[in-house]
């Protein structure tokens, strides 16, 4: 009998705020976090807006930030999100203002692991650009490696360079929370933190850890990050009205809007959670993973890869997607869409959901919070899973905002423009959360309301 895995804590740092309940209210109200880029001068960029994290200060989340003085911005987001998750899981921390995790008698640190889908730390653009300028010899149009190296040694701060390594986020979390169990970081682009949570669940199920801190953190709101996606023409270029630029499933959608942030959940073996008297937020009942194996720049037109991820996930959860439950409702009550707002993703994700749920597909609310939060890239999956937990806890599902002109190819129930109260229908018992990575790595999680 495989061990059951539950979520006992959750925390996030998002463009709409940092408190789980407060951000949830804003999502249900349909607030947009999108605005002009303030972190650098992006006025001349064809996409000059993003969903930035505002009012963030690590010192408000952690009492002692000294070991994290040089940590990259994504790692800072992760530390703050994890601190909230730790507290909400009822794990030991110092009383009083300012958070400091303490060793918890009920948890063996060697049995508590980490699995993150953290992105790279943002490039130290100033030093990097200056070194590149110093190395470039315009006269003979070539790079002088010696001049480049001389400038790099002079300008680059070793402490900041190392923090760009994507596994340093694990290092900082381990230090702040004392986790000594199995530790992994994965970078499967937009699917990373969903995959991280899924694999973390499997590690607990197998008995290789009792608890895992899992999730992701990322920011690409910097000159080269924005450049990369602008060149790919993957982002919305709707400069006139950034707040409506993220339009998943809308006929006029023209790309995603960049977001940033972090989401962290505490996963635990159910028996372990019970033994320490922890409250359970939801149970993770399914995880499915697949590869498109199609093309680097395109998605399988029939959505086969996405379907495979959902089907594996549902099979693990013991849910037949084509069979209504005893209450007449589909076996899944809400799907958090990958829903980026790019032409292809939304169209093909819709095809995939139809392929999986058949005639029941139109009956499953299927919305994208990226319409409000933007696309948190590697952190997106973890943050979206937390929205699913909130849907289960409250009985509401969040809307897809900016959906004014429905696309005939995206004709499912996208919960347009208004959150929905499902309490009268019996609330939200089961959710799927989809994340599909650039390059074709697909992942889906299934969570269920916890019932003893």
């Amino acid at each position: 009998m495989s061990r059951r895995v539950v979520i006992t804590g959750q925390g996030w740092v998002t463009p709409l705020g940092h408190d789980v309940d407060a951000v949830w209210s804003r999502l249900l109200a349909g607030d947009s976090a999108v605005g002009p880029v303030t972190r650098f001068d992006a006025r001349a960029f064809s996409t000059n807006f993003a969903a930035e994290v505002r009012d963030f200060d690590l010192a408000r989340a952690l009492a002692d930030t000294t070991p994290h003085g040089h940590a990259a911005l994504n790692t800072r987001f992760a530390l703050a999100a994890a601190a909230r998750a730790w507290r909400s899981a009822g794990l030991a921390c110092e009383p009083g203002p300012g958070f400091r995790a303490l060793p918890d008698k009920a948890v063996d640190p060697r049995r508590m692991g980490l699995y993150l889908g953290s992105g790279e730390g943002p490039v130290d653009t100033d030093a990097y650009f200056r070194a590149n300028l110093a190395g470039w010899k315009a006269a003979d149009r070539s790079l002088d490696a010696g001049a480049w190296a001389e400038a790099a040694y002079r300008l680059m701060d070793p402490r900041r360079e190392v923090e760009q390594e994507p596994n340093l986020c694990l290092t900082h979390l381990a230090r702040a929370f004392g986790c000594r169990g199995p530790a992994f970081n994965c970078m499967t682009a937009c699917a990373a933190s969903t995959q991280a949570i899924g694999e973390a669940v499997e590690i607990i199920r197998r008995g290789d850890a009792d608890a895992m801190l899992a999730g992701g953190a990322h920011t690409m709101i910097h000159p080269l990050g924005m450049t990369g996606f602008i060149r790919l023409t993957a982002m919305s270029g709707d400069r006139d009205d950034p707040t409506t630029a993220a339009r998943p499933f809308d006929q006029t959608r023209d790309g995603f809007v960049m977001g940033e942030g972090a989401g962290v959940v505490i996963l635990e073996d159910l028996a372990h959670a019970k033994a320490r008297g922890a409250g359970v937020l939801a149970e993770v009942v399914g995880y499915g993973s697949s590869a498109d194996a199609f093309r680097i720049t395109d998605i399988q037109p029939d959505g086969r890869g996405a379907q495979a991820a959902m089907l594996h996930c549902l099979r693990q959860a013991g849910i037949n997607p084509r069979e209504p439950g005893p209450d007449g409702r589909p076996g899944v009550h809400y799907i958090s869409a990958h829903g980026t707002g790019t032409k292809e993703n939304d169209r093909i994700e819709t095809i995939a959901v139809k392929g999986v749920f058949g005639p029941l597909a139109p009956k499953v609310p299927f919305s994208s919070v990226k319409s409000m939060l933007g696309h948190l890239i590697q952190a997106a999956g973890a943050v979206e899973l937390i929205t699913c937990v909130q849907a289960i806890r409250t009985g509401f599902v969040p809307p897809t905002m900016n959906l004014r002109s429905p696309d005939p190819d995206c004709d499912l129930d996208h919960v347009p423009n208004q959150a929905r109260d499902l309490r009268a229908q019996g609330g939200v018992g089961v959710c799927l959360s989809n994340s599909f990575g650039f390059g074709g790595q697909n992942n889906t999680l299934c969570i269920r309301k916890f019932e003893g």
Binding site: A44, H68, N167, R180, N185, T188, R231, A291, I296, Q441
Partner: protein
Amino acid sequence: MRRRVVITGIGTATAYGMGKDALWEGLLAGRSTIARLTAFDPSGFRSRFGSEAKEFSAKDFVPKTYRKAVKVMARDTELAVAAARLAVEDAGLVTRGTLPESGGATTYPGPRMACQIGAGLIAAETDELSMALAGSVREGEAGVGGVSMRAWGDGPEGESGMNSLPPLWLLKYLPNMLACHVTIIHGTEGPSNTITCSEASGLLSLGESTRVIERDMADLAFSGSAESKVNHMGLMRLDLAGWLAPTPDDGPASVRPYDPGATGTLVGEAGGILILEELGCAHKRGVGPYCEVAGFGAAQTVGSGPADRAWVDRSGDGLAQAIAAALRDAGTTPDRIDLIVPNGCGVPDLDAAEADALRTVFGERLARIPLLCLPTVLGQSMAGQGAVMTAAAALAIRHQTLPARVHAGTPAPGLLAGAAPSAPAPIREALVCTASLGGQNAAVVLRALP
């Protein structure tokens, strides 16, 4: 009943050349590939020596129809793609990537094949980016790092600023491209992941592939890692992290693991892919596996160093825990391990922790177990390391032979890492293990099959 996982194919792209035979011959001969770097002029760097993969064209390792895609592959991806093809051939598999034009059947259906390939951060090509940035400097505008963001943002398409970069520029440098290209070329539709934990990336990927097969989400996995540190940023970052030994301009230069006088490691580049298969499936198609992946363990080091070296912990507790977990998972004990392939890369902090971990687990017996340290001959390719280490151990088991051990100095007493020629030896179980910059530790136990 636990599904058992075996290694049935090995593909490596290293300075010894392409394929496992080149690797094995090089290891038997104990030939160091460390030389002054040639990919670019290293004279401005403090560390100028390393190991460069033998020249190859990635086009030779992909189907004709995929040759165009090589354009968007970074060096790291090319190493992985070449290694994958070599592994497929070595395993005697037919995949979508090796089907003859006349068609035919693949050995496995796509959905039953997984792909976990560890990677590092891939640095953008300095020449290309420098040229683009230099064209966006505007007199009197401080911009970002001296680059006018206005000029950078709105240059005419194909001519200047960001618009002079190729449209797929970003795609070349995403770490998941190693796995994604391999999934596309060989048609693997099962779970696929990209683990990025510096030196531990390869072994963590191997562990995850093993688990995926164990839990019946696939029957086969492409598993391994690749990375090149032979580029401006790779070399610079590792040096700034304190990982590299300074070298004189004309050598000599060497990697001397566990040597009290060691001052660091030297860069390398390598790719390795192992074909893992469920034992019954391998039997059914009549292939003789190299060995079994009998156990896997992982653990995190909680660093005690100062803020700017937060990951450093010379105690080796984390690595010892990972090794103990792998031994337990394999149902074996320290006295049955015949060969250890550690990281052994000559970085004093890392070596100290590693030696400490090995002493903790193996006690006095450690002095009698040979330690095969690949960085002495192949340099330190970080993520590229794990798969090649595992390949070396699997080959040692297959040939029941210890490869030559190379060491230009003297390792600390009690560690069997000094220079020694290759020799036949009974090798039933081998341990492959590593810590990492970042504190992730991983260990794998390989076991000979009867």
